[in-house]
């Protein structure tokens, strides 16, 4: 019998469950390795060579090199682990979170100061809120926003 996963119809959201964790095990453990300064230095010196030391899929490596956090999450990454890449790049949590919306840093920061993203229209897939797939990307950032 299939497991009950009622969280799969929340728009713009990937719940890090046991299945995602299994997919992303090596990706997330690679991220953990960046907590050591010497590993951060080796990664920055040659990202590809450092990633090749890990049994990650080619797509996971591409997603990391592209710094596309939505793509990383689809492949099993978890934001608290992926944050180690952001720390290596000198990015704050707000910059990382904002990068997944398609907004510029300023647009995202302004949204938060204005009270954050509304839940209206963003509870269930198929509504018309700004986190829904048909309204991506949301801002003026040139970064790929993913889906």
């Amino acid at each position: 019998m299939a497991l009950d996963k009622p969280y799969q119809d929340v728009p713009g959201t990937t719940i890090f469950d046991a299945e995602q964790s299994r997919l992303g095990y090596h990706l997330n453990q690679f991220c953990m390795s960046l907590m050591k300064a010497e590993n951060r230095a080796r990664f920055k010196a040659n990202e590809r060579a450092y990633l090749d030391e890990w049994p990650m899929s080619e797509e996971q490596k591409q997603a990391v090199m592209a710094r596309d956090l939505n793509w990383c999450i689809r492949l099993g990454g978890n934001i608290y682990f992926l944050a180690k890449i952001g720390a290596t790049d000198g990015k704050s949590f707000q910059q990382m979170a904002g990068s997944m919306t398609g907004m510029t840093e300023e647009e995202y920061r302004d949204m938060m100061i204005a009270g954050g993203r509304s839940v209206e229209g963003n509870r269930v897939v198929g509504e018309d809120g700004n986190a829904q797939a048909h309204r991506q990307p949301q801002g003026k950032s040139q970064q790929k926003a993913g889906a």
Binding site: T13, Y80, A97
Partner: protein, 280 residues
């Protein structure tokens, strides 16, 4: 016996720690956040307990995917400050209370809650930001702290009901300790926030304030709320709020006295909520 005198609830946003450590707490953006804790710092000076039992979650710092304990109790004499990738926060080392921690572990496990006993656990912003908010920047924390880490990173996380009942088991454990200690229990994390995907930045004031109301007046009812309601209404990381139910469950069954309540949006990506409840 040890007595739980009060409970404290607060968000533990990492950027709050960074603002304090980098001397930005006077900036208008951060002043609004810290203003909600002025009362609390004085309250803690006036009501310093013998031990703080601090419920928080690790954010991929002490625990990677190698091991994911649902409930981990820190039984060591000392806990180092984690380097989360930006360097360890410049805050005092956390002194534990191994005797009370071991006693609680023994009692709570015999009450059917399978805690993981941990003796080496660097503590991250989940634990140190609440201490900073409540104590400012002291040379040493005002009392020993028992770190209690809850998995809210990988699903499924423990249910609100289980957290609430665990709090009750902790209350019972404290009551059977043979030293007359005053213990505070703190529940941290939340409130509404989402850090991932196109829905990042979600905030729900209405949900948060209703949560605070019910935490005060109807915690047993609130504990029945299923995970999906937290995710849908308060964002994927809003699920951290189940940890507040551990602290609330450890309080007496009598209505608490609300010593302080504060709510503010935003701190970085997150809604800041804060309560101090005293046992009557």
């Amino acid at each position: 016996m040890a007595r739980i005198t009060a409970s404290v609830y607060t968000s533990h946003v990492p950027a709050i720690g960074a603002a304090l450590d980098l001397g930005k707490s006077g900036e208008p953006y951060w002043k609004k956040v810290f203003s909600g804790y002025e009362f609390s710092k004085q309250w803690l000076r006036d009501n310093t307990p013998d031990v703080i039992f601090l419920v928080y979650n690790d954010h991929a710092n002490a625990f990677s995917l190698e091991m994911i304990p649902t409930f981990a109790i820190g039984c060591a004499a000392e806990f180092a400050i984690a380097d989360e990738g930006w360097g360890p926060r410049p805050v005092p080392v956390v002194k534990g209370h191994p005797e009370l921690a071991a006693h609680i572990a023994q009692s709570v496990i015999q009450d059917d809650f399978d805690l993981t006993i941990v003796n080496r656990m660097p503590v991250d912003h989940g634990l140190t930001v609440p201490l900073s908010l409540m104590c400012g920047q002291p040379a040493a924390w005002p009392c020993p702290v028992i770190p209690f880490a809850v998995n809210v990173v990988q699903y499924p996380v423990p249910s609100g009901r289980r957290c609430f009942n665990l709090g009750r088991a902790i209350r019972k454990a404290a009551a059977s300790y043979d030293q007359p200690l005053k213990v505070q229990i703190w529940g941290t994390g939340g409130m509404s926030h989402q850090l991932q995907g196109p829905r990042a930045g979600l905030i729900n004031r209405e949900f948060d304030n209703a949560f605070l109301d019910r935490l005060i007046a109807d915690p047993a009812g609130l504990a029945q709320m299923p995970h999906i309601d937290y995710v849908r209404e308060a964002g994927s990381e809003g699920i951290e709020l189940v940890m507040w139910l551990i602290a609330r469950g450890a309080m007496s069954d009598n209505p608490p006295r609300v010593a302080h309540r504060f709510y503010h949006v935003p701190a970085s990506n997150t809604a800041v909520g804060h309560l101090i409840l005293e046992n009557t």
